[in-house]
Symmetry: none
Subunit: 212 residues, 4 copies
DNA sequence: GATGAATGAGGATTCATTCAT
DNA sequence: AATGAATGAATCCTCATTCAT
């Protein structure tokens, strides 16, 4: 953050940045997998170290505690989710398509990364006291972007005449619920047909349109 | 050896049935609250006993282990949910109203019993190995009832021309998601206006009907 | 013990002496068997009560604690041992035969009552602090009787010219050791030939007599 | 994933072999003493750790459970017994002297290590289910050696004309019994005169030899 | 007298974390 | 920097004993 840090000439053996980064990644990945497989309590730091191929002390060198390690894994997962959704939905599409694409990307992401569903729920259980869950932290960050999309559609008259907040909330609830039920019930979702079904139901509901 | 052996000898202190039932309920209630407040790990059996106003040994007299106590609490909660939804939705209503009423009852139930949302999630985390979660056990039991309701509506042409299973699933996902997001975000849901909003969105989706 | 007790006229419902005695015996017997089968720690008072066909509280009415119950069982066993040995060895036999008969009776007794070997050892382990073990208590009581027998034989020149105490001790060691090794190794001893072998070895040792 | 995985990474604190062995010995010794003093149940692992001057966790690092710790102590004791007897009796002596020396060594060993008598009996009580007690395991291992000694003496006509098995058994019973009675009665045995008495009685019995 | 419901003290074991090497 | 040996806090459950009925 301070610019003076860049002034220091590199003296002595420079840390092997690349190795460090790789280690950090390996530990995080091992942690994610183990936490997802066994739960927080059943996952021992020793096992994570074993999986990452490092000593237990090294894990603590990179992450100060089991808690922090878990939260880092959780945060990393949510970053990946964000990227996946943004990458899919960001390109200049028509607003309505952006919503459809976003929903699909969200569901596909969790289907491809079921581990992260587990982290999500583990975080809620073991870190409830934290003011805000990492999931909802990320959610709120993205809210504004989606708000403008929804508002645009509202102005165009594409959306029904309801508060956009309520509609965004509804979409959130659907995808959140779909993610969990799909994961918990072991169903494989709509893999293949790509969740078009859910998008359709979000858009049009379950009732036949009177005019149809 | 003696012929008296076959004679049961129940001359001692007779069990007080009524007291026993009350105790059992008190322990279950104390457990539900403490588990919901603190989580499974942080809840000590001693604390549950204290809250129930009995000795620790008594808790174990009624429930053979902490695990069983938790699962009993969980089961009890789901029984209550079922009763609440059935009571609300069962009466001879028009099928469409039954769905609306059921959804509302479901959401209101969890709003009135936030503890049970916690038990739900705790069960998933700490008893994942159980073949089926208590929630989905109960869910599947009720599925048939709802299926006939949906099929009736499908025949009448009230529902869109989609597989009823998919529509039921969609409704499940919405209420499941709404229950969690409402609970986790600390929002008070639509209390007062009674979740009419969600029912409306389930029915009609977020898009303006083309013919309107 | 005091003669005044016999003066009291029996007033009110007299306790059912016979039943009481039977119960007491049944409890003691159940205790002996269970302690022998499972050891002291693993034997629960509840199980003893069950086996005796009475309530747990009744066991405590007859014996004030698990400890006392065990010691009573132990004492009872040693009484039986004494009786068995005395009955066999007491009759006016020739002194040397009395020793032989006594040794045989001792070993046969423990072969017929292996439970008591177990109690013996359990007592040592769980009641070590007691000044004297029940076994050695009984042993010392009988010592005098045997001493006179040995001394008589010593005077007659039948025994070797060694301190009689040492010889008595030797016999004790042999039978004590034989009892344990037989019991622990699961061998059935000399059943049938009646331990004549041991008596013979006690009498003559393992070496060929020089004069033979 | 990375090729470095196959490279063991033992760059950390190297284990101090010598210290480890010392600790292991210290824990075993502390355990032996405490078990002998207090019995198995009354001995708490914490106390053993305290006596050994290590943390409780360290005890568990070296021995996976209290049970295993006890059995290790027991086994160690029996190893010492074997060594003591073998060292004393092995040297090329005349066979009869070997027996005498062996008996004396056995009894002296337990007099010098009364703790091990206690372990012996504790093992029987608390680990009865084990197929074979550690004592009899060791005993059987040595049996063959003694058998040849006895058979040699039998051929030479030194022993009486009885089955050698029976005579070995008799000697075992005597020493086993002597060990226990000496220990339990608190007598100090024949310390000083070195158990010559017992050897003499084993050899010649208590009766005066007819030819003498 | 008999019973068994209620009680709570007591202990082995695990595992996150530290820090000497 | 990396390691893993050492540590001890923390917790569920059993079962002897009491005593209300």
């Amino acid at each position: 953050m301070s610019t003076t840090e860049k002034v220091r000439r590199p003296v002595g053996r420079p840390p092997n940045q690349e190795l460090q980064q790789r280690r950090r990644t390996e530990i995080l990945s091992a942690a994610t997998n183990l936490f997802a497989e066994r739960g927080y309590i059943e996952s021992e730091v020793q096992d994570i170290a074993d999986r990452a191929g490092v000593g237990k002390g090294t894990v603590y060198r990179y992450y100060p505690s089991k808690d922090e390690l878990f939260l880092a894994a959780s945060r990393h997962g949510m970053d990946m989710l964000n990227k996946a959704v943004e990458t899919a939905a960001c390109p200049a599409e028509r607003p309505l398509d952006r919503i459809a694409t976003g929903v699909r990307a969200y569901l596909e992401f969790f289907e491809a990364n079921p581990n992260l569903v587990e982290l999500l729920i583990l975080e809620r259980v073991h870190f409830r006291e934290r003011t805000k869950s990492i999931y909802f932290e990320h959610f709120d960050e993205n809210l504004i972007r989606w708000q403008s999309t929804f508002e645009e559609l509202a102005r165009e008259g594409v959306l029904r005449d309801l508060p956009v907040e309520r509609m965004i909330e509804f979409v959130s609830e659907v995808v959140y619920g779909a993610m969990f039920t799909t994961h918990f019930s072991g169903r494989r979702g709509d893999l293949g047909i790509g969740h078009d079904n859910i998008v359709d139901l979000i858009f049009r509901g379950i009732l036949r349109c009177p005019g149809t």
